[in-house]
Symmetry: C2
Subunit: 231 residues, 2 copies
DNA sequence: CGTCCGGTTGACAAACTTCAATGATCGTGG
DNA sequence: CCACGATCATTGAAGTTTGTCAACCGGACG
Protein backbone atom coordinates (compact mmCIF):
# COMPACT_ATOMS: atom_id res chain seq x y z
CA UNK A 1 0.00 0.00 0.00
CA UNK A 2 2.40 2.55 -1.29
CA UNK A 3 0.29 5.52 -0.45
CA UNK A 4 0.19 4.67 3.20
CA UNK A 5 3.66 3.34 3.46
CA UNK A 6 5.54 6.50 2.70
CA UNK A 7 4.94 10.16 3.27
CA UNK A 8 6.13 11.65 -0.01
CA UNK A 9 3.75 13.29 -2.41
CA UNK A 10 1.66 14.70 0.38
CA UNK A 11 0.03 18.00 -0.41
CA UNK A 12 1.75 21.01 1.11
CA UNK A 13 0.73 21.57 4.68
CA UNK A 14 -0.27 17.96 5.23
CA UNK A 15 1.53 15.82 7.72
CA UNK A 16 1.06 12.27 8.86
CA UNK A 17 2.70 11.22 12.07
CA UNK A 18 3.90 7.72 11.27
CA UNK A 19 5.95 5.47 13.50
CA UNK A 20 7.38 2.03 13.49
CA UNK A 21 6.90 -0.46 16.23
CA UNK A 22 8.47 -3.82 16.94
CA UNK A 23 6.67 -6.67 18.67
CA UNK A 24 8.15 -9.81 20.08
CA UNK A 25 6.55 -13.19 19.58
CA UNK A 26 3.32 -13.33 21.54
CA UNK A 27 2.98 -9.60 22.04
CA UNK A 28 -0.36 -8.05 21.23
CA UNK A 29 -0.61 -5.38 18.56
CA UNK A 30 -4.10 -4.70 19.86
CA UNK A 31 -7.00 -6.38 21.61
CA UNK A 32 -10.74 -6.53 21.23
CA UNK A 33 -12.41 -3.46 22.67
CA UNK A 34 -9.38 -1.23 22.60
CA UNK A 35 -9.93 2.21 21.16
CA UNK A 36 -9.05 2.36 17.50
CA UNK A 37 -6.37 4.97 17.05
CA UNK A 38 -4.20 3.76 14.21
CA UNK A 39 -4.03 1.20 11.50
CA UNK A 40 -0.87 -0.82 11.02
CA UNK A 41 0.93 -1.97 7.94
CA UNK A 42 2.88 -5.12 8.58
CA UNK A 43 6.51 -4.67 7.57
CA UNK A 44 8.08 -7.95 8.62
CA UNK A 45 7.21 -10.98 10.66
CA UNK A 46 3.72 -12.41 10.93
CA UNK A 47 0.56 -11.80 12.92
CA UNK A 48 -2.52 -13.78 13.75
CA UNK A 49 -5.89 -12.29 14.56
CA UNK A 50 -8.42 -14.17 16.64
CA UNK A 51 -11.52 -13.92 18.76
CA UNK A 52 -12.50 -15.55 22.00
CA UNK A 53 -15.58 -17.75 22.14
CA UNK A 54 -18.11 -17.80 24.92
CA UNK A 55 -16.59 -21.02 26.19
CA UNK A 56 -13.16 -19.42 26.38
CA UNK A 57 -11.61 -21.16 23.42
CA UNK A 58 -10.10 -19.02 20.72
CA UNK A 59 -10.79 -18.91 17.01
CA UNK A 60 -8.05 -17.79 14.65
CA UNK A 61 -9.52 -15.50 12.00
CA UNK A 62 -6.56 -14.65 9.83
CA UNK A 63 -2.83 -14.70 9.40
CA UNK A 64 -1.26 -11.44 8.31
CA UNK A 65 1.92 -11.23 6.32
CA UNK A 66 4.16 -8.30 5.38
CA UNK A 67 2.21 -5.78 3.36
CA UNK A 68 -1.09 -6.61 5.03
CA UNK A 69 -3.07 -3.96 6.84
CA UNK A 70 -4.44 -4.36 10.34
CA UNK A 71 -7.44 -2.78 11.95
CA UNK A 72 -9.70 -1.78 9.08
CA UNK A 73 -12.64 -3.52 10.68
CA UNK A 74 -12.38 -1.15 13.63
CA UNK A 75 -13.39 1.90 11.60
CA UNK A 76 -17.11 1.41 11.99
CA UNK A 77 -17.21 1.15 15.77
CA UNK A 78 -14.03 2.96 16.72
CA UNK A 79 -12.99 -0.11 18.71
CA UNK A 80 -10.91 -3.07 17.66
CA UNK A 81 -13.05 -6.06 16.80
CA UNK A 82 -10.38 -8.74 17.09
CA UNK A 83 -7.17 -9.52 18.87
CA UNK A 84 -3.91 -9.35 16.98
CA UNK A 85 -0.70 -10.92 18.29
CA UNK A 86 2.71 -11.33 16.75
CA UNK A 87 3.56 -14.91 15.73
CA UNK A 88 7.18 -13.96 15.66
CA UNK A 89 9.30 -10.84 15.95
CA UNK A 90 7.28 -8.41 13.91
CA UNK A 91 7.63 -4.82 12.86
CA UNK A 92 4.69 -2.71 11.84
CA UNK A 93 4.25 0.79 10.56
CA UNK A 94 1.54 2.52 12.55
CA UNK A 95 -0.47 5.35 11.03
CA UNK A 96 -3.01 7.30 13.07
CA UNK A 97 -6.38 6.86 11.45
CA UNK A 98 -7.39 10.37 12.39
CA UNK A 99 -4.70 11.65 10.08
CA UNK A 100 -5.63 9.32 7.26
CA UNK A 101 -9.23 10.31 7.58
CA UNK A 102 -8.30 13.98 7.34
CA UNK A 103 -6.02 13.45 4.38
CA UNK A 104 -8.72 11.53 2.53
CA UNK A 105 -10.54 14.82 2.15
CA UNK A 106 -7.72 16.39 0.19
CA UNK A 107 -6.16 13.35 -1.40
CA UNK A 108 -8.61 11.45 -3.59
CA UNK A 109 -5.89 8.96 -4.45
CA UNK A 110 -5.47 8.08 -0.79
CA UNK A 111 -9.21 7.75 -0.32
CA UNK A 112 -9.43 5.40 -3.29
CA UNK A 113 -6.53 3.35 -2.00
CA UNK A 114 -8.19 3.01 1.39
CA UNK A 115 -11.41 1.83 -0.20
CA UNK A 116 -9.49 -0.51 -2.44
CA UNK A 117 -7.79 -2.05 0.56
CA UNK A 118 -11.08 -2.55 2.39
CA UNK A 119 -12.59 -4.05 -0.73
CA UNK A 120 -9.63 -6.43 -0.94
CA UNK A 121 -10.31 -7.38 2.65
CA UNK A 122 -13.85 -8.38 1.72
CA UNK A 123 -12.56 -10.46 -1.18
CA UNK A 124 -10.09 -12.15 1.09
CA UNK A 125 -12.79 -12.99 3.59
CA UNK A 126 -14.82 -14.63 0.85
CA UNK A 127 -11.74 -16.62 -0.01
CA UNK A 128 -11.40 -17.78 3.58
CA UNK A 129 -15.05 -18.75 3.48
CA UNK A 130 -14.40 -20.95 0.46
CA UNK A 131 -11.39 -22.45 2.21
CA UNK A 132 -13.29 -23.23 5.40
CA UNK A 133 -16.12 -24.94 3.55
CA UNK A 134 -14.01 -27.38 1.59
CA UNK A 135 -15.12 -30.95 2.23
CA UNK A 136 -12.20 -32.62 3.89
CA UNK A 137 -9.36 -31.62 6.15
CA UNK A 138 -6.90 -32.65 3.44
CA UNK A 139 -8.49 -30.31 0.95
CA UNK A 140 -8.39 -27.38 3.32
CA UNK A 141 -4.80 -28.07 4.20
CA UNK A 142 -3.78 -28.37 0.56
CA UNK A 143 -5.55 -25.12 -0.32
CA UNK A 144 -3.96 -23.41 2.66
CA UNK A 145 -0.46 -24.52 1.75
CA UNK A 146 -0.98 -23.43 -1.84
CA UNK A 147 -2.15 -20.02 -0.66
CA UNK A 148 1.01 -19.64 1.35
CA UNK A 149 3.09 -20.91 -1.53
CA UNK A 150 1.57 -18.38 -3.91
CA UNK A 151 2.11 -15.61 -1.40
CA UNK A 152 5.81 -16.37 -1.24
CA UNK A 153 6.07 -16.94 -4.96
CA UNK A 154 4.39 -13.64 -5.79
CA UNK A 155 6.96 -11.82 -3.70
CA UNK A 156 10.04 -13.32 -5.21
CA UNK A 157 10.62 -16.00 -2.61
CA UNK A 158 10.62 -19.67 -3.39
CA UNK A 159 7.13 -21.02 -3.81
CA UNK A 160 8.52 -24.50 -3.26
CA UNK A 161 10.22 -24.16 0.06
CA UNK A 162 9.45 -21.78 2.88
CA UNK A 163 8.92 -21.48 6.58
CA UNK A 164 5.46 -21.79 8.05
CA UNK A 165 5.06 -18.62 10.09
CA UNK A 166 2.75 -20.24 12.65
CA UNK A 167 2.63 -23.35 14.84
CA UNK A 168 0.52 -26.37 13.97
CA UNK A 169 -2.10 -25.55 16.57
CA UNK A 170 -2.83 -22.22 14.92
CA UNK A 171 -3.04 -23.76 11.47
CA UNK A 172 -5.39 -26.42 12.76
CA UNK A 173 -7.54 -23.87 14.54
CA UNK A 174 -7.68 -21.71 11.43
CA UNK A 175 -8.70 -24.66 9.25
CA UNK A 176 -11.26 -25.72 11.84
CA UNK A 177 -9.74 -29.10 12.55
CA UNK A 178 -7.91 -30.58 15.52
CA UNK A 179 -4.12 -30.56 15.59
CA UNK A 180 -4.15 -34.35 15.48
CA UNK A 181 -6.16 -34.31 12.27
CA UNK A 182 -3.78 -31.78 10.81
CA UNK A 183 -0.81 -33.90 11.73
CA UNK A 184 -2.34 -36.96 10.12
CA UNK A 185 -3.17 -35.03 6.99
CA UNK A 186 0.43 -33.82 6.79
CA UNK A 187 1.87 -37.29 7.12
CA UNK A 188 -0.59 -38.59 4.53
CA UNK A 189 0.58 -35.92 2.09
CA UNK A 190 4.16 -36.74 2.85
CA UNK A 191 3.61 -40.43 2.25
CA UNK A 192 2.05 -39.63 -1.10
CA UNK A 193 4.99 -37.49 -2.05
CA UNK A 194 3.13 -34.19 -2.26
CA UNK A 195 5.10 -32.33 0.35
CA UNK A 196 7.71 -32.61 3.00
CA UNK A 197 7.07 -30.96 6.33
CA UNK A 198 9.37 -31.05 9.28
CA UNK A 199 8.97 -28.57 12.05
CA UNK A 200 8.19 -25.30 10.37
CA UNK A 201 10.01 -25.98 7.15
CA UNK A 202 7.73 -26.83 4.28
CA UNK A 203 8.78 -28.27 0.97
CA UNK A 204 6.31 -28.65 -1.85
CA UNK A 205 7.40 -31.63 -3.91
CA UNK A 206 4.50 -31.81 -6.34
CA UNK A 207 2.50 -28.59 -6.75
CA UNK A 208 0.29 -30.21 -9.37
CA UNK A 209 -0.79 -33.05 -7.15
CA UNK A 210 -1.20 -30.64 -4.26
CA UNK A 211 -3.55 -28.55 -6.36
CA UNK A 212 -5.38 -31.70 -7.37
CA UNK A 213 -5.74 -32.60 -3.70
CA UNK A 214 -7.29 -29.21 -3.05
CA UNK A 215 -9.75 -29.51 -5.93
CA UNK A 216 -10.64 -33.13 -5.34
CA UNK A 217 -14.31 -33.93 -5.52
CA UNK A 218 -15.93 -37.04 -4.11
CA UNK A 219 -18.63 -37.38 -6.70
CA UNK A 220 -17.82 -37.33 -10.39
CA UNK A 221 -21.04 -35.89 -11.70
CA UNK A 222 -22.96 -33.02 -10.24
CA UNK A 223 -22.95 -32.15 -6.61
CA UNK A 224 -24.86 -29.13 -5.56
CA UNK A 225 -25.13 -27.83 -9.06
CA UNK A 226 -26.86 -24.51 -9.08
CA UNK A 227 -30.48 -25.17 -9.58
CA UNK A 228 -32.79 -23.50 -12.04
CA UNK A 229 -32.55 -19.85 -12.93
CA UNK A 230 -28.88 -20.08 -13.61
CA UNK A 231 -29.09 -20.41 -17.35
CA UNK B 1 -27.35 3.75 4.95
CA UNK B 2 -29.22 6.99 4.94
CA UNK B 3 -26.70 8.90 2.93
CA UNK B 4 -26.91 6.52 0.04
CA UNK B 5 -30.57 5.84 0.29
CA UNK B 6 -31.84 9.27 -0.56
CA UNK B 7 -30.61 12.10 -2.65
CA UNK B 8 -31.41 15.06 -0.44
CA UNK B 9 -28.69 17.10 1.22
CA UNK B 10 -26.47 16.81 -1.80
CA UNK B 11 -24.25 19.80 -2.39
CA UNK B 12 -25.44 22.16 -5.11
CA UNK B 13 -24.43 20.96 -8.53
CA UNK B 14 -24.15 17.36 -7.47
CA UNK B 15 -26.37 14.73 -8.93
CA UNK B 16 -26.61 11.02 -8.39
CA UNK B 17 -28.53 9.02 -10.91
CA UNK B 18 -30.32 6.46 -8.75
CA UNK B 19 -32.82 3.90 -9.91
CA UNK B 20 -34.84 1.10 -8.47
CA UNK B 21 -34.93 -2.35 -9.86
CA UNK B 22 -37.11 -5.34 -9.15
CA UNK B 23 -35.93 -8.93 -9.45
CA UNK B 24 -38.03 -12.05 -9.45
CA UNK B 25 -37.03 -15.12 -7.51
CA UNK B 26 -33.99 -16.66 -9.08
CA UNK B 27 -32.98 -13.62 -11.10
CA UNK B 28 -29.39 -12.52 -10.88
CA UNK B 29 -28.54 -9.06 -9.60
CA UNK B 30 -25.05 -9.62 -10.92
CA UNK B 31 -22.58 -12.38 -11.68
CA UNK B 32 -18.92 -13.05 -11.12
CA UNK B 33 -16.78 -11.24 -13.64
CA UNK B 34 -19.35 -8.66 -14.65
CA UNK B 35 -18.12 -5.11 -14.78
CA UNK B 36 -18.80 -3.25 -11.57
CA UNK B 37 -20.96 -0.27 -12.39
CA UNK B 38 -23.18 0.25 -9.39
CA UNK B 39 -23.71 -0.86 -5.85
CA UNK B 40 -27.15 -1.86 -4.70
CA UNK B 41 -29.01 -1.26 -1.49
CA UNK B 42 -31.53 -3.97 -0.81
CA UNK B 43 -34.98 -2.50 -0.24
CA UNK B 44 -37.15 -5.56 0.15
CA UNK B 45 -36.92 -9.27 -0.40
CA UNK B 46 -33.77 -11.29 0.11
CA UNK B 47 -30.64 -12.17 -1.82
CA UNK B 48 -28.00 -14.84 -1.61
CA UNK B 49 -24.46 -14.46 -2.85
CA UNK B 50 -22.40 -17.47 -3.84
CA UNK B 51 -19.38 -18.69 -5.73
CA UNK B 52 -18.85 -21.68 -7.94
CA UNK B 53 -16.23 -24.26 -7.01
CA UNK B 54 -13.85 -25.94 -9.40
CA UNK B 55 -16.00 -29.05 -9.25
CA UNK B 56 -19.07 -27.09 -10.24
CA UNK B 57 -20.78 -27.10 -6.88
CA UNK B 58 -21.78 -23.80 -5.40
CA UNK B 59 -20.93 -22.25 -2.06
CA UNK B 60 -23.32 -19.76 -0.50
CA UNK B 61 -21.37 -16.87 0.97
CA UNK B 62 -24.04 -14.66 2.47
CA UNK B 63 -27.70 -13.86 2.72
CA UNK B 64 -28.61 -10.22 2.27
CA UNK B 65 -31.61 -8.60 3.85
CA UNK B 66 -33.23 -5.21 3.37
CA UNK B 67 -30.78 -2.47 4.22
CA UNK B 68 -27.75 -4.51 3.20
CA UNK B 69 -25.41 -3.28 0.50
CA UNK B 70 -24.27 -5.35 -2.44
CA UNK B 71 -21.11 -5.19 -4.44
CA UNK B 72 -18.59 -3.47 -2.19
CA UNK B 73 -16.09 -6.25 -2.76
CA UNK B 74 -16.02 -5.33 -6.45
CA UNK B 75 -14.39 -1.96 -5.87
CA UNK B 76 -10.83 -3.23 -5.86
CA UNK B 77 -10.94 -5.07 -9.16
CA UNK B 78 -13.79 -3.30 -10.92
CA UNK B 79 -15.45 -6.67 -11.45
CA UNK B 80 -17.97 -8.49 -9.36
CA UNK B 81 -16.39 -11.16 -7.22
CA UNK B 82 -19.50 -13.19 -6.45
CA UNK B 83 -22.88 -14.04 -7.88
CA UNK B 84 -25.98 -12.52 -6.37
CA UNK B 85 -29.46 -13.88 -7.01
CA UNK B 86 -32.83 -12.98 -5.57
CA UNK B 87 -34.27 -15.57 -3.18
CA UNK B 88 -37.65 -14.05 -3.68
CA UNK B 89 -39.17 -11.01 -5.32
CA UNK B 90 -36.67 -8.35 -4.42
CA UNK B 91 -36.32 -4.65 -5.00
CA UNK B 92 -32.99 -2.89 -4.85
CA UNK B 93 -31.88 0.68 -5.16
CA UNK B 94 -28.98 0.88 -7.58
CA UNK B 95 -26.45 3.67 -7.33
CA UNK B 96 -23.67 4.10 -9.91
CA UNK B 97 -20.38 3.77 -8.12
CA UNK B 98 -18.77 6.30 -10.41
CA UNK B 99 -21.09 8.93 -9.00
CA UNK B 100 -20.50 7.88 -5.42
CA UNK B 101 -16.80 7.98 -5.98
CA UNK B 102 -17.03 11.50 -7.34
CA UNK B 103 -19.24 12.70 -4.54
CA UNK B 104 -16.86 11.29 -1.95
CA UNK B 105 -14.46 14.04 -2.91
CA UNK B 106 -16.87 16.77 -1.94
CA UNK B 107 -18.89 15.03 0.74
CA UNK B 108 -16.74 13.85 3.62
CA UNK B 109 -19.83 12.50 5.33
CA UNK B 110 -20.54 10.23 2.39
CA UNK B 111 -16.96 9.08 2.26
CA UNK B 112 -17.04 8.21 5.94
CA UNK B 113 -20.30 6.37 5.53
CA UNK B 114 -18.88 4.33 2.68
CA UNK B 115 -15.86 3.38 4.74
CA UNK B 116 -18.07 2.59 7.68
CA UNK B 117 -20.15 0.27 5.55
CA UNK B 118 -17.11 -1.55 4.25
CA UNK B 119 -15.77 -1.83 7.77
CA UNK B 120 -19.09 -3.32 8.85
CA UNK B 121 -18.74 -5.80 6.03
CA UNK B 122 -15.41 -6.92 7.44
CA UNK B 123 -16.92 -7.32 10.90
CA UNK B 124 -19.76 -9.33 9.47
CA UNK B 125 -17.37 -11.62 7.66
CA UNK B 126 -15.55 -12.30 10.91
CA UNK B 127 -18.91 -13.15 12.41
CA UNK B 128 -19.60 -15.63 9.62
CA UNK B 129 -16.18 -17.10 10.27
CA UNK B 130 -17.09 -17.66 13.91
CA UNK B 131 -20.38 -19.20 12.84
CA UNK B 132 -18.78 -21.59 10.37
CA UNK B 133 -16.23 -22.82 12.86
CA UNK B 134 -18.67 -23.79 15.58
CA UNK B 135 -18.23 -27.42 16.54
CA UNK B 136 -21.46 -29.12 15.64
CA UNK B 137 -24.17 -28.69 13.06
CA UNK B 138 -26.66 -28.02 15.85
CA UNK B 139 -24.58 -25.17 17.18
CA UNK B 140 -24.25 -23.55 13.80
CA UNK B 141 -27.94 -23.90 13.15
CA UNK B 142 -28.86 -22.45 16.53
CA UNK B 143 -26.52 -19.51 16.01
CA UNK B 144 -27.88 -18.96 12.54
CA UNK B 145 -31.49 -18.93 13.69
CA UNK B 146 -30.63 -16.54 16.50
CA UNK B 147 -28.92 -14.22 14.04
CA UNK B 148 -32.04 -14.17 11.93
CA UNK B 149 -34.19 -13.71 15.00
CA UNK B 150 -32.15 -10.71 16.14
CA UNK B 151 -32.29 -9.24 12.68
CA UNK B 152 -36.07 -9.30 12.70
CA UNK B 153 -36.26 -8.20 16.31
CA UNK B 154 -33.98 -5.23 15.74
CA UNK B 155 -36.27 -4.02 12.98
CA UNK B 156 -39.50 -4.17 14.87
CA UNK B 157 -40.66 -7.54 13.62
CA UNK B 158 -41.30 -10.47 15.86
CA UNK B 159 -38.08 -12.11 16.95
CA UNK B 160 -40.09 -15.21 17.86
CA UNK B 161 -41.83 -15.99 14.66
CA UNK B 162 -40.78 -15.22 11.13
CA UNK B 163 -40.36 -16.62 7.66
CA UNK B 164 -37.07 -18.12 6.60
CA UNK B 165 -36.22 -16.24 3.44
CA UNK B 166 -34.31 -19.15 1.90
CA UNK B 167 -34.85 -22.86 1.24
CA UNK B 168 -33.29 -25.56 3.37
CA UNK B 169 -30.69 -26.40 0.78
CA UNK B 170 -29.29 -22.89 0.91
CA UNK B 171 -29.21 -22.81 4.69
CA UNK B 172 -27.42 -26.14 4.74
CA UNK B 173 -24.92 -25.02 2.14
CA UNK B 174 -24.28 -21.80 4.04
CA UNK B 175 -23.72 -23.68 7.30
CA UNK B 176 -21.51 -26.18 5.50
CA UNK B 177 -23.66 -29.20 6.24
CA UNK B 178 -25.81 -31.45 4.09
CA UNK B 179 -29.55 -30.82 3.86
CA UNK B 180 -30.16 -34.17 5.55
CA UNK B 181 -28.06 -33.11 8.52
CA UNK B 182 -29.89 -29.81 8.70
CA UNK B 183 -33.22 -31.57 8.62
CA UNK B 184 -32.20 -33.87 11.45
CA UNK B 185 -30.91 -30.96 13.51
CA UNK B 186 -34.21 -29.17 13.03
CA UNK B 187 -36.26 -32.16 14.14
CA UNK B 188 -33.97 -32.63 17.13
CA UNK B 189 -34.55 -29.03 18.17
CA UNK B 190 -38.26 -29.44 17.70
CA UNK B 191 -38.33 -32.55 19.82
CA UNK B 192 -36.54 -30.70 22.57
CA UNK B 193 -39.00 -27.87 22.41
CA UNK B 194 -36.57 -25.18 21.27
CA UNK B 195 -38.29 -24.30 18.03
CA UNK B 196 -41.01 -25.20 15.65
CA UNK B 197 -40.22 -25.26 11.97
CA UNK B 198 -42.63 -26.16 9.24
CA UNK B 199 -41.92 -25.23 5.70
CA UNK B 200 -40.49 -21.74 5.86
CA UNK B 201 -42.26 -20.66 9.00
CA UNK B 202 -40.03 -20.60 12.05
CA UNK B 203 -41.19 -20.29 15.63
CA UNK B 204 -38.72 -19.88 18.43
CA UNK B 205 -40.24 -21.45 21.52
CA UNK B 206 -37.32 -21.11 23.92
CA UNK B 207 -34.78 -18.43 23.00
CA UNK B 208 -32.77 -19.13 26.14
CA UNK B 209 -32.31 -22.80 25.36
CA UNK B 210 -31.59 -21.95 21.75
CA UNK B 211 -28.83 -19.61 22.85
CA UNK B 212 -27.53 -22.32 25.17
CA UNK B 213 -27.49 -24.73 22.25
CA UNK B 214 -25.40 -22.29 20.27
CA UNK B 215 -22.92 -21.75 23.11
CA UNK B 216 -22.70 -25.37 24.16
CA UNK B 217 -19.22 -26.69 24.79
CA UNK B 218 -18.28 -30.34 24.89
CA UNK B 219 -15.57 -30.09 27.49
CA UNK B 220 -16.22 -28.39 30.80
CA UNK B 221 -12.77 -27.08 31.51
CA UNK B 222 -10.40 -25.49 29.07
CA UNK B 223 -10.42 -26.19 25.40
CA UNK B 224 -8.02 -24.20 23.34
CA UNK B 225 -7.49 -21.62 25.99
CA UNK B 226 -5.19 -18.92 24.70
CA UNK B 227 -1.73 -19.91 25.67
CA UNK B 228 0.88 -17.69 27.24
CA UNK B 229 1.22 -14.00 26.52
CA UNK B 230 -2.44 -13.39 27.04
CA UNK B 231 -2.29 -12.19 30.61
C1' DC C 1 -54.87 -36.00 -11.00
C1' DG C 2 -50.32 -37.01 -11.66
C1' DT C 3 -45.67 -35.03 -11.50
C1' DC C 4 -42.07 -32.49 -9.53
C1' DC C 5 -39.63 -30.41 -6.00
C1' DG C 6 -38.47 -29.56 -1.35
C1' DG C 7 -38.08 -31.71 2.73
C1' DT C 8 -37.76 -35.77 5.86
C1' DT C 9 -36.21 -40.29 7.51
C1' DG C 10 -33.42 -44.68 7.90
C1' DA C 11 -29.23 -47.48 7.50
C1' DC C 12 -24.63 -47.59 6.65
C1' DA C 13 -19.96 -45.59 5.58
C1' DA C 14 -16.59 -42.07 6.01
C1' DA C 15 -14.37 -38.30 8.32
C1' DC C 16 -13.21 -36.22 12.25
C1' DT C 17 -12.65 -35.87 17.33
C1' DT C 18 -11.29 -37.55 21.71
C1' DC C 19 -8.27 -39.65 24.93
C1' DA C 20 -3.93 -41.34 25.93
C1' DA C 21 0.79 -41.95 25.30
C1' DT C 22 5.21 -41.06 23.25
C1' DG C 23 8.93 -38.42 20.98
C1' DA C 24 11.40 -34.30 19.54
C1' DT C 25 13.04 -29.66 20.23
C1' DC C 26 14.18 -25.61 22.71
C1' DG C 27 15.07 -22.34 26.20
C1' DT C 28 16.63 -21.92 30.87
C1' DG C 29 18.97 -22.40 34.95
C1' DG C 30 22.04 -25.29 37.67
C1' DC D 1 27.50 -27.95 29.13
C1' DC D 2 23.98 -30.73 30.47
C1' DA D 3 19.63 -31.62 32.53
C1' DC D 4 15.13 -30.35 33.08
C1' DG D 5 10.58 -28.93 32.07
C1' DA D 6 7.67 -26.95 28.72
C1' DT D 7 6.01 -26.70 24.30
C1' DC D 8 5.13 -28.74 20.01
C1' DA D 9 4.26 -32.55 17.16
C1' DT D 10 3.08 -37.31 16.09
C1' DT D 11 0.68 -41.71 16.53
C1' DG D 12 -2.80 -45.34 17.94
C1' DA D 13 -7.40 -46.90 19.29
C1' DA D 14 -12.03 -45.95 20.23
C1' DG D 15 -16.10 -42.98 19.96
C1' DT D 16 -19.04 -39.29 17.75
C1' DT D 17 -20.66 -36.61 14.20
C1' DT D 18 -21.57 -36.03 9.67
C1' DG D 19 -21.96 -37.62 4.88
C1' DT D 20 -23.91 -40.79 1.58
C1' DC D 21 -27.36 -43.45 -0.67
C1' DA D 22 -31.97 -44.60 -1.12
C1' DA D 23 -36.61 -44.35 -0.19
C1' DC D 24 -40.55 -41.81 0.97
C1' DC D 25 -43.90 -38.03 1.85
C1' DG D 26 -46.73 -34.09 0.89
C1' DG D 27 -47.82 -29.74 -1.02
C1' DA D 28 -47.63 -26.88 -5.36
C1' DC D 29 -48.66 -26.58 -9.92
C1' DG D 30 -49.71 -27.46 -14.45
Amino acid sequence: MALLAETPSLPPGAQLQVWHQVYKRGEALFRVGEAFVSIGILRSGAVKTYLQREDGSEQVLSFLMPGDILGLDAIASGRHMRNAVALDTTSACMVPFEGIDELCNTMPALRREMMRQMSLGLVRDARIHMLLTMRTADQRLAAFLLDLSRWFGARGFSAREFQLPMPRADIANYLNIKPETLSRALTRMQNEGLIRAERRRLLILDPGKLQAAADETSDPAEWAMPRKHVQ
